[in-house]
Amino acid sequence: MAVAIDAALQMAGDRLVSTAMVPQDISKLIVRTSMKDRAAFDLLYRQTSAKLFGVCLRVLNDRGEAEDALQEIYVKIWTKADRFAVSDLSPISWLVAIARNHSIDRIRARRRPTTDIDAVLDVADPAPGPEAAAVAGDQAGQIHRCLEELESDRAAAVRGAYLKGESYAELAQRHRVPLNTMRTWLRRSLMKLRECLER
């Protein structure tokens, strides 16, 4: 039976490589990974590693470190896949959350700050405009609409913190405000966001 399942999954996988992976398919792969199915795990890696590596690169700003992190992240996914069922997150968001949190833990743990690639390359934060927000659909668009209700530098701080995993101290430095001010900004912004999203 196992052979037949693997073959079927393999066929499904080959078919899916050329098309977009829909969330339900990734759900199946995560559930099967939780049952220690290596074929499903292989497919899950093929379908999601580029997104998760993008997360690692952006947060860690260091290719070698991002590669190490990605290995640790998939080891975690293998061992903790059963936790997916108790989360309200979509499957890809659940995987991204693991990758983000792991990458942020890594930058917090490291002592020496690396050169900021963003500063060197002058990469702008990809904050989607109203059009992108509208296209992104209701649920996704809502967070962007709510961010627009915040003052622009605070919305930028929230985006920067989320995408790059910047600490309060780093954000304070970049926005040239005292640490406590930044903390107050962000806490108030988070509560306003929650209120806006629950409206």
Binding site: V31, A50, G54, E67, L89, N101, I104, S167
Partner: protein, 235 residues
């Protein structure tokens, strides 16, 4: 109810901590402490999950990047490189299978996600029920195996009190519950099913677990509270 849910201000500060954790602004020690609480406190874990959901659309801004080809082999090396790794055991005896099926069942995923892949041959009809109730933490996963005339029970959570037993019942429509017997203590146990009950089970019934005096109900009907129920569904 946990303390933090009853206590307004404390819950509010927990929610803020959950938000800061998800946003990523905390220091290493604070993140470790939060991470420990996620593992230990379901209420706090739910707050964190809610924030992950709220902020997750922001992650669309991460551009994809192909990792080097050698990386997957390195991951497999870490996970599966134990010398003389055992060949895959039967799926039914694997703890991972039960756990995976159990969490999937509890999340309502079981029929849509897990089971299409596990379709057994037609003559081995199997019915599955996830047994739980909001009022208790007792959870079982029940699998009726028509070929062997037994109900396999995987105990997921909830302990029986001293001097009490859990008893399994089949409920069909408005008829009085029929006892399938006292559930043996253990993580994975089985109860044999008598011929008259087999047919009813195969037509899809409701299973329920009640708390009874040690040794089972003295009256033949449930006497204690029902702590878990679920529909048997054909897989």
């Amino acid at each position: 109810m946990t303390l933090s849910q009853e206590n307004g201000p404390e819950r509010e500060s927990d929610d803020l901590l959950a938000a800061e954790y998800v946003l990523g602004v905390l220091l290493a020690e604070q993140r470790q402490e939060a991470s420990r609480r996620i593992d230990a406190e379901p209420a706090f874990a739910r707050l964190v999950d809610a924030w992950e959901v709220r902020l997750s659309p922001l992650a669309e801004a991460y551009p994809e990047a192909e990792p080097p080809r050698s990386l997957k082999a390195a991951i497999d090396g870490r996970l599966f490189a134990s010398p003389g790794a055992a060949p895959r055991a039967s799926v039914w005896t694997s703890l991972g299978f039960w756990r995976g099926l159990a969490v999937a069942a509890l999340a309502g995923l079981v029929l849509t996600v897990a089971l299409p892949y596990m379709q057994p041959p037609a003559e081995q009809m199997r019915l599955v029920a996830s047994l739980a109730a909001d009022s208790s933490d007792v959870k079982y996963l029940a699998v009726y195996d028509a070929a062997h005339h037994n109900v396999g029970l995987s105990h997921l959570s909830g302990e029986r009190d001293q001097g009490k037993d859990f008893e399994l019942w089949m409920i069909e429509g408005d008829k009085p519950p029929v006892s399938l017997g006292v559930i043996p203590v253990g993580a994975v146990t089985q109860l044999p099913v008598a011929p008259p009950i087999q047919k009813q089970l195969e037509q899809g019934a409701v299973l329920a677990v009640s708390v009874e005096p040690a040794g089972g109900s003295p009256t033949g009907q449930p006497t204690g509270p029902v702590v878990a129920t679920g529909d048997l569904k054909n897989i």
